[in-house]
Symmetry: C2
Subunit: 448 residues, 2 copies
C-alpha cells in the first residue's frame, strides 16, 4: 500500500513554528512551550526574524534558512503576514501549513475577504503545500507526543476532526477522562483547503484509527462526504456532532469558522444515507465514543436493567423506551435463578430490583448481571452501580458476551471505582438518557 498523501501532514516528522517567541505573552511562545512540554518526538524549528534561540532551541530567521525538511509549518503570525509565510512554505516545499491565525472568511470585512482570496489563489496554484485551517488551533498525534492547548496525550483508536480547536480539546479531554485513547486529532478551522472529507479519507486508511469522531459546522463537499462516509461506516463508525443545526447555531457558526451550516433536514438525510451517527453535543458524543470503544454491538434492542434501589429502574426504563429500546420481561428460568439469589420481595421481571439487599452484599449486582446476560431476550445490560459494587461487575464483565454499561448516580461521581470499571471495559455514565442513547447508537438507531 502506498503512503497516504496526508501521512506526514498529520504525522509530521518535523514542525517549524513560524512566529515562535521567547515572550510568554505571545501565542508563538505558547505553541513552542507546548511542543517541548509534551515531548514531541519530531524536529522542532522555531522561526523568528531576529532571535537566534527560542526556548533553548536554535531559531532561524525564515523558513528558507531551516536546515532540514519541514513537514508541517505552524503559522502563528498576525493575519496580514500569513500570505508571505505561505509563499515561504511553498518555496521550502513544506508538506503543509497549519494556520492558527484568524481573520479570513469568518470575518466580514474587506481585509479578511482579500486575505482569503489571496490564500485561495496560492492554493489554486497547486504547488503541493496543503493548508490546515486557517483559524484553527493545532494538531494532536498521540504516538508522536504531539498535542496542543491542554489536550492530554493518551494513545488509542479514536480519530478526531473538529472545526473548533477548543472542541477538539474538549472531546479528547472528555474521552481520556473515560479512559479512551486517541490516534490523531485535527482542529480543522475554516477548512479552506483540507476539509472534513480529506481527513475522513486519511482516517479510513489509517490502521491506528478505528472510530472517527467529528465536530462539524459546515460540509464543503456534500456528495463526496456522503459517498466517502458511506464507504467508511461499515468498517469504522463515524460519529458527528453537528454544530449549527439551528438558526441561532448556524449564525454563530458563520462568524466562528465562516461555515454555511445549511439545513438540518439535509444533514439528517445525508447522515442517515451514509450511516453516520449524529450526536447532540459533548456529553452525548462522549457517551457514544465510550460505547463504540468498549462495547460489542448488541444483537437486538432488549435491555436488562439491574438496580439496587427501585426508583432508578423506573427512570432507566423510561430512558430506554424513549431511545427506542425495549425492556423485555425475563424468562421464567432467569427469574428462578434470580429468586434463589435475592430476597422474596425483590423484582425479577426486569428491571431486576435487588432492593436494599444490595447494600448488604455488594456482589449481588454482578451476579444478577451475569444471570440476566444468559437470558435470550437480553441484548445489553445497564447496571446501577453504588459504592463497592464495581468489583462484582468487573468480574461479570469477563463472563458476559453482551454490552454491559454502568450508571453512577452520585453527583460528584465515584471517581476511583469508575476508573477501575472503565479500565475493565465497563463504560460508566452519569445520565441515563445518554446511556440509553449510546445503546441505540450502537444499533444505528439515533437520528439527527
Amino acid at each position: 500500500m502506498s503512503e497516504h498523501p496526508l501521512k506526514h501532514v498529520l504525522a509530521p516528522r518535523s514542525i517549524a513554528v513560524v512566529g515562535a517567541s521567547n515572550n510568554p505573552q505571545k501565542t508563538g511562545y505558547f505553541y513552542m512551550e507546548k511542543l517541548l512540554q509534551a515531548g514531541y518526538k519530531g524536529q522542532i524549528y522555531p522561526v523568528h526574524p531576529q532571535q537566534s534561540e527560542i526556548l533553548g532551541l536554535p531559531a532561524y530567521p525564515n523558513l528558507a534558512a531551516v536546515p532540514g525538511e519541514v513537514d508541517l509549518a505552524y503559522v502563528v503570525v498576525p493575519g496580514e503576514a500569513v500570505i508571505q509565510v505561505m509563499r515561504d512554505c511553498i518555496a521550502k516545499g513544506s508538506k503543509a501549513a497549519l494556520v492558527v491565525s484568524a481573520g479570513f472568511s469568518e470575518v466580514a470585512d474587506e481585509e479578511g475577504k482579500r486575505r482569503a482570496r489571496e490564500l485561495q489563489e496560492l492554493l489554486d496554484a497547486g504547488r503541493g503545500t496543503r493548508v490546515i485551517g486557517p483559524n484553527c488551533m493545532g494538531l494532536y498525534n498521540a504516538a508522536l507526543g504531539l498535542t496542543f492547548h491542554d489536550a492530554p496525550i493518551k494513545e488509542g483508536k479514536i480519530g478526531v476532526i473538529a472545526q473548533s480547536g477548543s472542541i477538539t480539546v474538549d472531546i479528547i479531554k472528555s474521552g481520556v477522562y473515560h479512559n479512551l485513547g486517541f490516534s490523531v486529532g485535527v482542529s480543522s478551522g475554516n477548512e479552506m483547503d483540507l476539509n472534513l472529507c480529506d481527513y475522513l479519507e486519511y482516517f479510513a486508511a489509517d490502521p491506528a484509527t478505528g472510530i472517527i469522531a467529528a465536530y462539524v459546522e459546515g460540509i464543503k463537499e456534500g456528495q463526496r462526504f456522503v459517498r466517502l462516509a458511506g464507504e467508511i461506516t461499515p468498517k469504522k463508525p463515524i460519529i458527528i456532532w453537528k454544530g449549527g443545526r439551528t438558526e441561532a447555531g448556524a449564525r454563530a457558526a458563520s462568524s466562528h469558522t465562516g461555515s454555511l451550516a445549511g439545513e438540518r433536514r439535509i444533514y439528517s438525510a445525508a447522515f442517515r444515507q451514509a450511516g453516520v451517527v449524529p450526536a447532540t453535543g459533548l456529553p452525548e458524543l462522549t457517551a457514544f465514543l465510550q460505547a463504540f470503544s468498549m462495547l460489542e454491538r448488541p444483537a437486538g434492542n432488549g435491555v436488562c436493567i439491574v438496580t439496587g434501589p427501585g426508583g432508578p429502574g423506573v427512570a432507566i426504563s423510561d430512558a430506554c423506551n424513549e431511545a427506542g429500546l425495549s425492556v423485555p420481561a425475563l424468562s421464567e428460568a432467569t427469574r428462578q435463578s434470580l429468586s434463589r439469589l435475592l430476597p422474596s420481595f425483590a423484582g425479577t421481571r426486569n428491571p431486576i430490583d435487588i432492593t436494599m439487599a444490595s447494600l448488604a452484599d455488594s456482589t449481588l449486582l454482578g451476579q444478577c448481571a451475569e444471570i440476566a446476560a444468559a437470558d435470550p431476550a437480553v441484548d445489553a445490560i445497564l447496571a446501577v452501580v453504588g459504592p463497592g459494587e464495581h468489583e462484582g461487575l468487573i468480574e461479570a464483565r469477563g463472563k458476559i458476551g453482551k454490552p454491559l454499561l454502568a450508571y453512577d448516580r452520585s453527583p460528584a461521581g465515584l471517581v476511583e471505582q469508575n476508573e477501575m470499571l472503565e479500565e475493565a471495559g465497563v463504560p460508566v455514565f452519569n445520565d441515563v438518557v445518554y446511556a440509553a442513547r449510546a445503546i441505540a447508537a450502537l444499533l444505528g438507531k439515533v437520528y439527527l
Copy 2:
C-alpha cells in the same frame, strides 16, 4: 393561622422506631444509627420486644409502653407484623406511622393484597393516625436534623416528595452538591394514605418551603392535583419528574410502588393546565432546581452567550434554539462597548466570542457579561467559564439584575471554583442542554 394537620407528621417532635435493633445487620439498627448520627433534635424511642436498651437509649417493649407522646412511628418490621403495629400506633394516638416495610400493593401475590386490604380497613376506620408509605424509605427535615440513608442535611427552601426513597436521596444529594438547601423531604412510597396532594397542600402552607420538587410515578387524585397545583404554582414553582411516562417505565413503576402510571398525554395536559414544570430525570430536575433557587425569572427569551473559545458558543446557540430560546443580535451600542474591551477579531454579535484573549485576562468574561446585561435584547446570560474566570463572574453577578448561568466544560468539573460560583448565586451546569432548558423552565416553556 391554625396549625397544618401534617405539621407534626413532617416535623415530628418525637419518633418511635418500631423494629429498632442492636444488630448491625438489621434495617432497624440502620435507622436508629442514622437518627443518632445526624443529631435528630426530637425524642427517639426505640421499640423492641426484648431489649431494654438500643444504641445507648432506653428501649420499650411496645408503643403503649413509651412514656411520652409519639408524633411519628417508624415501622421497620417484617411485612406480616405491620398490621399489628398499626393498631398499636392508633391505640397510642401517634400522629402518623412511616411504614418502611414493603410487600403491599406493589407485589402481586395474595398475601400482599390481603395486607394492603387490612391496612386500608384500618385507615378507613379513620382513627386519625396517618400513614406515610408503605414501602417508603424515610423522612427528611433539615431544621430538625432528621435525615435517612445518606442524604446530607442542608437547610433551604426546597420541599421534596418522591415515591422512591432512593430518588428522594438522589435529589437532595444532587441539590446539596450545587449548594441548594431543603426544607422537608418525604419518601412517599405506595401512598396508600397520605399522597402527593396531601404533601403539596402542606408545602403550600409551609413558610420554609418556596419551591416544590417531586418524583411521581402515579397520581391518585387527579382532579384534586390539578386544582391544588394550579393554586400553588403562581406562588411556588412545582417541578415534577414523572417516572413511568413510557410503557416500560409504567411497567417498572407498577412493580416498584404499585402505581398506575397512566398515559403520558394525560399527565402532559394536567401539568400544562396546572403550571407544573416537568423534568425528564435527575440531571434535568437538578438543573431546574438550580435555576428556580438562584435566578430571577427572565423578562423574555433572549439569551446572550459569552464564551472564550468559539466552538461552545455554537453549541450553546443550538441548545438555546432547541429549548425555544433566542440568541438575539446585540445592539450597536453594546457591540461598541465590547469592541473597546476585546481584540479586533473577537465576536460581538452574540455569541460574544472573547477568543483566546480570555486566557490572558480572566476578568474579560465578567466584564462582557456585565456589558451584555445592559442590552435591552438580553434577558439571560450564559457564560462559558474556564479556570480562574469565576472571580470576574462573581463580581458581575452582583451588578446584573438578569439571570446569569455558568457552563463548565471540564469533564471532572472545576469543583472549587464552581462551589464559589454557586455560593455567590451563579448556578453551574456541565451540559448546555440542561442549562438552556433551565432558562426555558423559568419561563414556563418546558412541556412533558
